[in-house]
């Protein structure tokens, strides 16, 4: 399954150049650009971690995201880092008493992405260029779940995926750099840490961990490769960049991320939905 996924990605990347290299004049004509964007806004998380609770937990926070984009005549490169640390609450009122604060999750969400795509098609009527490529995406979703009476347990997913990446750019005005981006990413194969998830204890094996050494490093070495049977993830981004001067632009972005992860086949799914509305300041280098 894994090798088939890798083969599929490789073939896509190779065939894109072969199939569409005859395409000549791009609709959006410009010189190569290097763009840096610093964004913030609202990040909304919805989490259901069946290993911990049947309840859905939700919360919003102000995220921070940093993006670097290279726009060549035929290629696109994007690097993104984003962070937010959100308190999630369920339909049960968070209680505060002398013993502890309970019924909430502290949710740390970190993302790193690198996307590479190459021009695949041009739709002149719509002023749109389509790019096809791959993305390497690494997500950490670390949750500290506070139960009744001061008990708390951690749960996490850390997945680094390689998958199909589709990008479209639509020029809004001729003779300008303002454009609308739509991106879709689906990982085909991922390396997931924490193969034995805590608070489950339903597997055939036990963690063989030296508790006096760095646990995260040991878990990193114990990761496993998964595909669609255990991890289903979809991410979509819509963003609009318009320039207010030759160098300075404003970016409006909406990001939608959903994943469902089950370490054990069809058991104890962690389902995570993240919506982000970001406003960014873009600098053209």
């Amino acid at each position: 399954m894994m090798s088939r996924s890798l083969l599929a990605i490789s073939l896509i990347l190779c065939s894109v150049r072969i199939s569409f290299s005859q395409e000549s004049s791009p609709v959006i004509s410009f010189e190569s650009q290097h763009l840096l964007t610093l964004s913030s806004g609202v990040s909304s998380h919805t989490v259901r971690d069946e290993m911990m609770s049947p309840l859905m937990y939700r919360g919003t926070q102000i995220p921070v995201a940093f993006t670097y984009r290279f726009r060549g005549s035929d290629n696109r490169h994007t690097v993104l880092l984003s962070f937010d640390n959100t308190e999630l609450n369920s339909s049960i009122t968070k209680s505060v008493n002398d013993v502890a604060v309970s019924h909430y999750i502290n949710n740390l969400h970190l993302t790193f992405e690198y996307s590479l795509s190459t021009r695949a098609a041009v739709c002149e009527n719509l002023n749109t260029t389509c790019f096809l490529g791959a993305r390497l995406s690494s997500i950490l979703s670390l949750r500290n779940h506070y139960f009744q009476n001061g008990n708390n347990l951690m749960s996490a997913e850390q997945m680094t995926g390689l998958g199909i990446y589709l990008l479209t750019e639509t020029a809004i005005q001729q003779e300008s750099d303002n454009y609308l981006r739509v991106e879709i990413y689906i990982p085909c194969v991922s390396y997931v840490l924490i193969p034995e998830r805590y608070n489950a204890n339903v597997s055939e094996t036990f963690d063989d961990i030296d508790v006096e050494q760095d646990i995260l490093w040991q878990l990193f070495k114990k990761g496993g490769v998964v595909t669609f049977n255990k991890l289903f993830q979809v991410q979509a981004d819509v963003s609009y960049i318009f320039f207010v001067s030759n160098q300075i632009g404003i970016e409006l972005q909406y990001r939608w991320l959903y994943y469902s992860f089950a370490q054990y086949q069809d058991l104890f799914h962690a389902r995570v939905l993240n919506n982000q509305f970001l406003l960014g300041l873009t600098v053209k280098l």
Binding site: M56, Q148, T205, I215, R271
Partner: protein
């Protein structure tokens, strides 16, 4: 909704969630001679939409007390329900008695350890009242337990050490392994565990061994006595089992509480939390200790009469063993 809707917060659904989760993942029904289906039959008929929180709490209390597993409990805003320990209130064997008679005063305290020299300064006494505490990361050793290295480095010339875990109710097993590793001469299997890993009553993993390994810059490999009682529970029992496989360690006192269990926590749709054991543990000889406990090498009880007369019979036996060792 893409992540699914919240389950209904009704008495019936709360009971059903509780019952189903135990049905799938509780590991010790047969060990404890519990017919879980009959529990459903008995209590489900008592629950309706009009069942109050108090009535539901009482039903859960009955069930938890019926299971009588130290790692099965329910936490609610109305209070928590635990197993009913069989230790009588007058049980005198859970802590040191007449300390001044046996150990020197001016006791230094090193974080989670209370340690003193015995009246014969050739022996040391360490009391560990708990193995609670989490380190950084996911379930790492609480750094306070590394203080054992400082204590042992001061006591390298001691003839022997007595470790008192008679009142230790457990905590984080990684802390117990960390302390025990300072007394290990080599890797030795001390525990076997198997997990419930499927919905069937007989769905268990195979038995997996756990080993104690030498830890720290220095290991104390001379005579050691570990004092135990019925109040020695959970992670403290793992500590006792780890120490028991070492050839120069003698376990003295009463049989331990009888539960390792590796409990997990879950929430009900009404936010109440419950805990259940998903494992069965056996000692190095393969003897299941759940509901039974770890047998000491030398069985000694401090009676009520001993206590009234200021005699700590268990500690006296431990001192004798150290003094008479080669």
């Amino acid at each position: 909704m893409i992540v699914g809707a919240d389950p209904e917060n009704t008495p019936e659904n709360n009971f059903g969630t509780f019952w189903k989760d135990f049905d799938r993942y509780y590991a010790q029904f047969s060990l404890r001679h519990i017919d879980w289906d009959s529990v459903y039959t008995l209590y489900h008929s008592q629950i309706s939409l009009s069942t109050s929180d108090r009535q539901l709490f009482d039903i859960f209390s009955d069930i938890v007390l019926g299971i009588n597993d130290m790692h099965v409990s329910v936490y609610t805003p109305m209070g928590d329900v635990y197993w009913k320990s069989m230790i009588p209130a007058s049980y005198p064997s859970r802590s040191i008695i007449n300390a001044g008679k046996y150990v020197r005063s001016g006791a230094p305290q090193k974080s989670v350890f209370e340690y003193r020299t015995c009246q014969d300064p050739a022996s040391g006494y360490i009391s560990i009242q708990s193995f609670a505490g989490q380190g950084g990361g996911l379930s790492k050793t609480d750094p306070r337990y590394f203080a054992i290295d400082d204590i042992l480095s001061q006591w390298k010339n001691m003839k022997g050490i007595i470790i008192d875990v008679r009142g230790n109710g457990g905590g984080n097993s990684t802390n117990a392994e960390t302390v025990a590793g300072r007394f290990a001469d080599q890797s030795r299997v001390y525990l076997y565990r198997r997990q419930k890993n499927g919905p069937g009553k007989d769905n268990f993993s195979s038995w997996k061994s756990m080993s104690i390994e030498p830890k720290g810059s220095y290991q104390f490999l001379k005579p050691v006595v570990v004092l135990t009682s019925r109040a020695t529970e959970s992670a403290a029992e793992m500590f006792v089992m780890a120490m028991q496989v070492l050839p120069y360690v003698t376990i003295v006192g009463d049989t331990t509480g009888g539960g390792v269990g590796s409990p997990v926590f879950r929430e009900l749709p009404n936010g109440w939390t419950y805990r259940l054991s998903t494992e069965i543990a056996a000692d190095a000889q393969g003897r299941i200790i759940e509901g039974v406990g770890v047998f000491p090498d030398v069985h000694v009880l401090t009676t009520a009469a001993d206590s009234a007369n200021g005699i700590d019979r268990m500690l006296e036996k431990g001192i004798d063993i150290i003094n008479n060792s080669q």
